[in-house]
């Protein structure tokens, strides 16, 4: 079953682009990564899902229900952590969390203390006095206190120190094991790589690719580095499937996707001094998506 289904979702801000024709779906129980550079449309997509803004065209469903029509109902089971957390002034952490809990028809007191303990959050402090990282912790507790079935995270780790980040990821994995589906938006690949099963890559408001992390990493891509005896002309390896071609003197490097034989044949026609063929890390694959259309 798909928890989130996005169907040709488009949002225009007047004439300027928000997102265009975004389609993907998130299956129940998976941790789905949503990556792209700043301004690519990640937050826009998430805000559309939460019906904070409304689509220009296209539609989306969560738990099989239209996000616009059934917004209040759907949100009972959604926990959301915004990229920047803003709260009402002059409230204590515990008051804010209780206020947040009051919107859900269940008792969350125990859960609040549990979460606060894990995240080392002082509930008696005033929110105004908290550091950015601690505000983020309030956001995390606030987003998880009602044990949502779908957790939506928009750049959740900014401001958290590595230790807390680790605790937070553990927390997410625990929720995931209990059955929660997670949509995780980020521009930091390593965290997505660590946590997610599948990933959608967004660039300039459009989805470039949806792929399994494992496939993205293993199957298709190879990183080549070739040292030749004589310097090669810059376009010697210019062929379909080759990306990020770089020639520096006798050293040539590129990322290749496709039938490996075609490259090997090409390699065999020059005299080589050394050869490396490696698995590219996600970052490098990712760069390939960003650069492709430039």
């Amino acid at each position: 079953m798909n928890v989130i289904e996005i169907n040709r979702l488009t949002k225009m801000y007047g004439k300027s682009r928000g997102i265009t024709d975004v389609s993907f779906s998130v299956e129940e129980g998976e941790i789905f990564g949503f990556i792209g550079p700043n301004g690519a449309g990640k937050s826009t997509t998430i805000r559309l899902l939460l019906s904070l803004i409304y689509p220009t065209s296209g539609s989306a469903t969560i738990f099989g229900k239209d996000v616009v029509k059934f917004a209040p109902e759907i949100k009972k089971e959604i926990g959301y952590l915004p990229s920047e957390v803003f709260y009402y002034d002059n409230m204590k952490v515990i008051d804010l969390l209780k206020y947040s809990a009051s919107f859900y028809k269940k008792d969350c007191t125990k859960r609040i203390t549990e979460l606060a303990e894990v995240m080392e959050l002082d509930l008696t402090k005033k929110i105004d006095d908290l550091s950015l990282g601690n505000k983020k912790k309030v956001g995390i507790v606030q987003g998880l206190l009602h044990e949502p079935k779908l957790i939506i995270l928009d750049e959740p780790t900014s401001g958290l120190d590595p230790l807390m980040q680790q605790r937070f990821f553990d927390l997410l994995e625990k929720e995931n094991q209990k059955g929660a589906t997670i949509l995780f938006s980020s521009h930091i690949l390593s965290e997505v790589q660590r946590l997610c099963d599948r990933v959608a890559i967004i660039k300039d408001g459009a989805i470039v690719q949806v792929e399994k992390i494992s496939e993205l990493k293993q199957n298709n891509y190879k990183k080549f580095k070739i040292e030749t005896v004589l310097p090669l002309s810059g376009d010697y390896f210019e062929m379909p499937g080759v990306n990020q071609l770089e020639v520096k003197g006798t050293t040539t490097s590129f990322i290749f996707r496709g039938d490996i034989n075609t490259v090997m044949q090409k390699v065999s026609t020059v005299e080589i001094a050394n050869l490396w063929v490696e698995e590219p890390d996600l970052e490098e694959i990712f760069m390939h998506f960003y650069q492709r259309e430039e």
Binding site: L52, Y54, Y80, F86, Y88, D89, S100
Partner: protein, 265 residues
């Protein structure tokens, strides 16, 4: 319910300040009357000698300033200005602040419809303006009553306060409607108070030039003037009806636009 409590708490400080404000206005204003002692008649004469235009601007035309209630009628103009400024700012702010303070991402991801959010906020705002009205009413009855020597004042003051309450609600929903319609939440407060200022100036201009009488339907400040409430038969049903229509239309506008609004951060 939780939103109402939240809003009441959030607005408590401002409510106290405004309440003290109107209390001070009534106290200080009527203090001036008491200070005049028996010189009320002279005051009337002095006023009568002033040019009509100046009288119109100060809103003193048509009041018997030798009477406590007459003097209070003069003060009423300033009271409604205060009360409506409070109402219009509260209305604009209570809607716009979630966007301004970027708390929409907190509130509207909760399982609650926008219609309910608006309803709770409107209830909280109504309670606030009601308290301001009540403070004005009670302080007026006590303070004016003390200066009045045998005059019957309570009935008239109640009528004036009913008029003021109508104006408060009108400006409250002007504020909410503007905050709901305008994409840029930052401007909502400024535009709302701007409208208040313009309608207030228009009321004065109408006072200055009788030929503009027809325009009195446009500015709420002409709906319930102390002069006509005190000197004739009370609240004008035409303007009561008009107020009701304005409030209904603007409340509907508030709901309609907020429901469709893209909430930006």
């Amino acid at each position: 319910m939780n939103i109402i409590t939240r809003e009441m708490k959030a607005n408590l400080k401002s409510l106290i300040i405004w309440s003290i404000g109107v209390l001070f206005m009534v106290g200080a204003g009527m203090g001036k009357y008491a200070g005049m002692g028996g010189s009320g008649e002279t005051m009337n004469e002095l006023m009568a000698e002033m040019p009509d235009s100046l009288q119109a601007i100060m809103g003193t035309a048509g009041f018997d300033l030798s009477k406590a209630l007459g003097f209070y009628g003069l003060l009423y103009l300033y009271l409604i200005v205060m009360a409506t400024i409070h109402a219009v700012m509260l209305g604009a702010n209570i809607i716009a602040k979630e966007e301004l303070d970027k708390t929409v991402e907190f509130l509207l991801v909760k399982p609650i419809s926008r219609v309910k959010v608006i309803s709770f906020k409107l209830v909280a705002a109504l309670l606030n303006v009601f308290v301001v009205n009540l403070v004005t009413l009670v302080s007026s009855i006590i303070i004016v009553g003390r200066s009045a020597e045998g005059e019957k004042v309570v009935g008239d003051i109640v009528l004036l306060m009913v008029g003021m309450f109508c104006l408060q609600i009108i400006f409250l929903v002007i504020g909410t409607a503007i905050a709901a319609v305008y994409k840029n939440a930052k401007k909502a407060g400024a535009i709302s108070t701007g409208i208040l200022l313009i309608t207030f100036l228009l009321a004065i201009i109408i006072n200055l030039d009788q030929r503009l009488e027809a325009l009195r339907y446009i500015t709420p400040f002409k709906y319930f003037e102390a002069e006509s409430i005190l000197n004739t038969s009370g609240l004008d049903p035409v303007f009561l009806g008009l107020s009701l229509i304005i409030v209904v239309v603007l409340t509907f506008t508030t709901y309609h636009y907020y429901k469709k609004k893209d909430l930006h951060l």
